[in-house]
């Protein structure tokens, strides 16, 4: 073990490890599965460590997220394919969303557990909308950073974010209405 290796290891630990919760959260929202998220996060960190000497940017978070996305895509090449217009989202593979029981948003809505409802509804967004939303709202990435991480033009980021929010709001209001009616 050389001194340089140790220094790099130390630097990686100080920069990357404090972001573990955030990387894991991103992985959870993208995979909607606790085990897969944990696996993917671990692989992301191992890859990041391997390439860390080549990392020269100032901001490590977008770099880690980009690696995570590549990890997920290498496991499922179709994961980030935009959906054809008019497709009603990923309704076909909704279950299990989070590997939890009681994930039905209607049940949660009745219990007034807003956070769980929202988590569920975010999980149901098409993946390309979902990732734009999570990068913006959870990580406060700029449009430019989102464009870089997801590899699409800024205009596409803007329309995906708008669509994500519209779909979320529509789903939220529908549930609210239903909850009031019952």
């Amino acid at each position: 073990m050389t001194e340089a290796d140790q220094r790099e290891g130390e630097r990686f630990r100080k920069l990357a490890l404090p972001l573990l919760d955030e990387v894991y959260t991103f992985a959870r929202y993208l995979t909607r599965d606790a085990n897969e998220a944990e696996d993917a996060t671990q692989e992301t960190y191992l890859r990041a460590l391997r390439y860390f000497s080549g990392f020269s940017g100032e901001s490590i978070k977008p770099w880690l997220f980009t690696i995570l996305r590549n990890v997920l895509r290498s496991r499922d090449p179709r994961r980030f394919e935009p959906l054809p217009e008019g497709d009603g989202g990923e309704a076909g593979n909704l279950e299990p969303l989070w590997g939890e029981t009681e994930s039905d948003p209607e049940v949660q809505m009745a219990r007034a557990d807003d956070a769980r409802v929202l988590r569920e509804l975010v999980g149901r967004l098409p993946s390309v909308y979902r990732e734009a939303l999570v990068l913006k709202e959870f990580n406060d990435f700029s449009y430019r950073q989102i464009a870089e991480v997801t590899g699409v033009p800024i205009g596409t980021v803007m329309s995906r974010l708008a669509r994500a929010r519209e779909e979320l709001q529509t789903a939220w209001f529908a549930l609210e209405k239903k909850a009031k009616a019952t």
């Binding site: 073990m1 573990l20 894991y24 959260t25 671990q42 700029s142 430019r144």
Partner: protein
């Protein structure tokens, strides 16, 4: 532009992504259009809901350990703690003492790592670490500290501008006669950097012209003074990015809290326009 076409800009306003000119335009539209005002309010309410910590997750405990096992073993010697005053406030204080108490390097290392994860302090620990590293690297670099202080003063106090104008032909002449330097004041709006004004500031006791630009909601202070000194082209200090260059016998320092890559863009835009 119809309201539908404006919608992405309403989102961008909510996200703080618009420059001053567009932000004013959309704000004015929202003030006069009930539909867009409603959409804007809904977006803001949704952002608020999504800010809930309950939507974030904690990584499973075993995960951090497994990742750390892959890291090179830490050096036996603890990092020198050059700033005891700062150290006392930070999470690494406990970790420093754990190694003093004679625990093996591996277990003290685990302890330190756990300290970093404890109590959701991840982001804080990261910021603290950065400050710590930078302080160690830049003890000789008083000028960066002085520039960041100037930047912070400009954000905290009233003194962001002596002259406030988005017009380069107002800002540039204002400097003439006040200083023995008149900095170039290019209009960089098309590159995404809005000129907002200028002021005179003092860096290490010397008067400097400061041209102020904005990127989205972020301020970029460009300090300019005559004379050139050796300094690194890029410094990060306490989370602020600094870029340094010289040209025609002038020293330039750009200071901001935008990402380093964006500040690099600013420097490139400024240099190519002057």
């Amino acid at each position: 532009m119809t309201c539908d076409e404006k919608m992405p800009l309403v989102h961008a306003l909510a996200d703080g992504e618009l420059d001053v000119v567009h932000a004013r335009e959309i704000e004015a539209h929202i003030a006069s259009c009930a539909d867009c005002a409603g959409s804007f309010a809904e977006i803001m309410a949704l952002k608020q809901k999504l800010a809930s910590p309950a939507l974030r997750m904690r990584a499973p405990a075993g995960l951090a350990e497994r990742i750390m096992e892959a890291l090179p073993a830490p050096a036996a010697v603890e990092m020198p703690l050059a700033h005891p005053r700062r150290v006392r406030q930070g999470w690494w204080r406990a970790t420093g003492s754990s190694s003093v108490n004679g625990s093996s390097s591996t277990s003290s290392w685990r302890l330190r790592a756990q300290g970093a994860f404890a109590g959701g302090a991840g982001a804080f620990a990261l910021a603290a670490c950065l400050a710590f590293f930078v302080m160690r690297a830049d003890t000789g670099n008083e000028i960066a500290r002085s520039l960041v202080d100037g930047h912070l003063r400009s954000l905290a106090g009233e003194h962001l501008f002596d002259v406030q104008s988005t017009d380069q032909h107002t800002v540039k002449p204002w400097f003439a006669g006040k200083l023995d330097v008149t900095p170039p004041v290019p209009d960089l709006a098309l590159k995404g950097f809005t000129l907002v004004g200028g002021r005179i500031d003092y860096v290490e006791g010397r008067a400097a012209a400061v041209v102020v630009y904005r990127r989205r909601t972020h301020v970029i202070n460009l300090f300019v003074w005559p004379g050139t000194n050796l300094a690194p082209p890029a410094i990060e200090l306490s989370g602020y990015m600094l870029r340094h260059w010289t040209r025609d016998g002038l020293t330039f320092w750009a200071v901001s809290d935008i990402a380093g890559s964006e500040l690099g863009e600013f420097v490139a835009a400024y240099q190519s326009a002057t």
